[in-house]
């Protein structure tokens, strides 16, 4: 028989706050499930605005994730591998959106890309392109908020990866770009996947930056979180149903992370 492991007993001063903490995190979700108007769920989901908002959310979150991958993976490589000066400053700048209130991000984007903005006015004059209050603005706002999650995750994976594999590739005639494509990227693929899922989940839930920069127009910029907020003021039952959908998507994401990717990333 094995003896009880040392530290297996939780001291009361820790146990009570821990239990309260669990209750605090779980009870609101239970309340959501309890209060859900289960009899009319189908009806609510079929309402015209819901499908539209859900589709817009999924599409814009996916586009934001793709954009984050295209820009964020190379950025993570630079942060993890290059020896250039000012790298830690760069890392700090890149992670600012992680701690910045999203609504501030929205304001900042508006100031830069809005019609009167530094870049926005030029886009407007030169190409007649207006970004704010379009679906493009939704994707940009979500990318701004979510990309740091991907960058941090991929950078961590790159730092943990064994660089000797890259040395081997070099001795076999692979230049740095070939090495990146054929060796480094496959080695950190689990980290990239985990980062992409995190990024996607964060983009899906984006509210503050989106409503500030893209507004709240059904069909073009009204994503699920915005729809939930609006519905809560007019028809709370619809808000609950919409919240359930987002909860389901979040739980599915979590399961995906645990079983498919995180499991492989941490053998």
């Amino acid at each position: 028989m094995s003896r009880p492991r040392e530290g297996a007993r939780v001291p009361a001063p820790l146990l009570v706050p821990a239990a309260l903490g669990v209750a605090f995190l779980v009870l609101p979700l239970v309340g959501l499930l309890v209060r859900a108007p289960w009899s009319s769920v189908g009806e609510q989901l079929a309402a015209p605005g819901v499908g539209q908002a859900l589709r817009l959310s999924l599409v814009s979150a996916t586009l934001a994730t793709l954009l984050s991958l295209v820009l964020g993976v190379p950025l993570a490589w630079v942060l993890a591998r290059s020896r250039m000066r000012g790298r830690s400053l760069l890392r700090a700048l890149v992670t600012v959106p992680l701690v910045l209130p999203p609504v501030v991000g929205g304001v900042a984007l508006f100031l830069v890309l809005g019609r009167q903005g530094i870049v926005g006015s030029w886009l407007d004059d030169a190409f007649g392109i207006t970004i704010p209050f379009t679906t493009t603005a939704v994707v940009i706002a979500e990318t701004f908020v979510a990309m740091p999650f991907l960058v941090v995750s991929v950078e961590g994976a790159l730092r943990a990866a064994d660089t000797r594999f890259e040395d081997v590739a070099a001795t076999l005639g692979a230049d740095r770009w070939t090495t990146f494509r054929r060796v480094t990227l496959p080695l950190v693929a689990p980290g990239v996947a985990a980062g992409a899922v995190l990024c996607w989940a964060r983009a899906l839930g984006e509210f503050g930056a989106t409503i500030t920069f893209a507004g709240n127009f059904p069909g073009t910029t009204q994503t699920m979180p915005l729809a939930v907020y609006l519905a809560l003021q007019r028809e709370p039952e619809a808000a609950i149903v919409l919240s359930l959908v987002l909860l389901a998507v979040s739980l599915a994401t979590l399961l995906l992370l645990r079983d498919r990717w995180l499991g492989r990333a941490v053998p």
């Binding site: 064994d162 040395d167 081997v168 001795t171 005639g173 090495t179 080695l187």
Partner: protein, 348 residues
Amino acid sequence: MTLEASVAVRRGSLDLAVDLAVADGEVLAVLGPNGAGKSTLLRVLAGLLPPDGGRVAVDGTPWDDDGVHLPAHRRSLGMVFQDALLFPHLSVADNVGFGLRTRGVGRADRRAAADAWLGRVGLEGLGDRRPAELSGGQAQRAALARALVGAPALLLLDEPLSALDARTRLAVRAELRRHLGDFAGSTVLVTHDPVDAMALADRVVVVEDGRVVQTGTPDEVNRRPRTDYVARLAGLSLLAGTGQGRTVRLDGGGEVAVAEEAAGPVFAAVRPESVALYLSRPDGSPRNVWPARLVGATPHGATVRCELAGEVPLVADVTATAFAELGLVPGAEVWATVKASEVAVYRR
């Protein structure tokens, strides 16, 4: 395919300055303790680390020189590391064919070349496996095939056997020896294991603290070590002294009688098996009789290797039976004898 290198690297506490020349088909072993700078030297030869000074040239073409640094991927080389480092996301055959792929060889030709090399290293039919499904010895063989498949001018081996268990090491060493014999280019083998150096190399360079302290054939280095490190590796006791006729006066005090005339600064090397131990001073022929104290004893096959302290520090091998019969324990006072004809003497 000749390698000529003169490498200088200063990095932290490491100050490396080593000259090497390796001819076609020759295998040079760089032997030295950990931290001597061996692996750094190899990284410079591979182009993975630009040297602070010096020159690396293969067949007269400079790879490193003033203002020249050919990056690793443009050097014609193959390298095998201590761990096989097969790419875990590729099949064994794709690993072996990796270097051909970077050189633009087509898929079918790559596969054919990889399969041929897998056959040569005794891994027929394992090409479709994942590296994780190979044993340590198989993985190291595949790594060797991967390094050799492109027929490089220079083969670099960085402690290629030290991660293997003793039995596997024996088998892979024999195999490696065969492939090195067939290899037309120059080979540099870095190791801290003298057996690897003796078994695989045509010539040995001993590096300590970033400097070459001895060069020679494995046999020369083995029989006539010039530093304590090499002597210990070869299992010899190395005594430095001054020769006067058939006597060597040791720098540390005491004298050793030798069979040949010697003059000037010399080394006297004594093999452990030629040292005999007695509990009381023996009578008779041996001219070298020294009192000593047993300070350490470690089993070494069927014998016990005894470390002796005293005026003349020695290492003695006695059979386990004799060790028991003499009732030796650490701290025991003994008499050590060596025949004069068993002492090798050579100039310092």
